[in-house]
Subunit: 137 residues, 2 copies
């Protein structure tokens, strides 16, 4: 698992099209096409095929909680982002990962973005120290 | 070297403060505090201490040229981004890397962002297929 955690003053994403690559991708059903919030911790997360999901999710959740506490930002965007590794988990495992992560963060307002689509992405990232955090577990 | 290449409709970054971490960081002199453009390929690049710079720079430049050709976007933002790896090159090597990369892209309009500072960062990324490309050499 690799993740970029971003302290954002604005976030927006719109689904444009379902993904067709890798050949094995199985997109989720689309419930919502546009995601928008002002103040948020945005977690861009790449689940990898070597991950032990049940070990990794709590570690990532802990880092997100620390970031939320440091910045006093209580909205968390969980964004499937298959671009931090060339070694991706299956669609099934990725979806399980995000569902578990959302559960671990049930005390926060979470925005869970769709898996398996091409999306526009607006990230307006604060300039403070520690605004971008890379985590690899 | 790890890089995220992004097809953007808007890019903005402002220097807020010089970096003080890692302890070995040597920031460049600041020539410009604000960077702004509308249409650009933004290259977020992490130079690693195992890189052979003279081999890696041409490979990355080639990928950027392909991306520019695919999207017909001719402005390239070269952004030092120490957040895609935990294994960073020295400040000296990072600066050499970016200077060489800028030379390799001398046929393009390049915006070379400052190394060694905390910056705000606005990325407004298109939603087309192939809008985000991860490259690792």
């Amino acid at each position: 698992m690799k993740s970029l955690l971003l302290s954002c003053k604005n976030f927006n994403s719109k689904i444009k099209k379902l993904a067709t690559r890798p050949a094995s991708v199985i997109p989720e059903p689309i419930k919502q096409k546009i995601y928008q919030t002002d103040k948020a911790i945005v977690a861009l997360v790449t689940v990898e095929d070597t991950d032990d999901i049940y070990e990794t999710v709590p570690k990532l959740a802990k880092e997100i909680k620390i970031f939320s506490n440091d910045t006093q930002i209580k909205t968390i965007v969980l964004f499937p982002f298959g671009h931090l590794s060339n070694n991706l988990a299956s669609s099934e495992d990725t979806i399980i990962f995000f569902n578990l992560l959302e559960k671990e963060l049930s005390d926060y307002e979470t925005i869970r973005v769709h898996f398996g689509s091409h999306k526009s992405l607006l990230l307006d990232i604060h300039g403070h120290k520690g605004n971008v955090r890379f985590r690899e577990f």
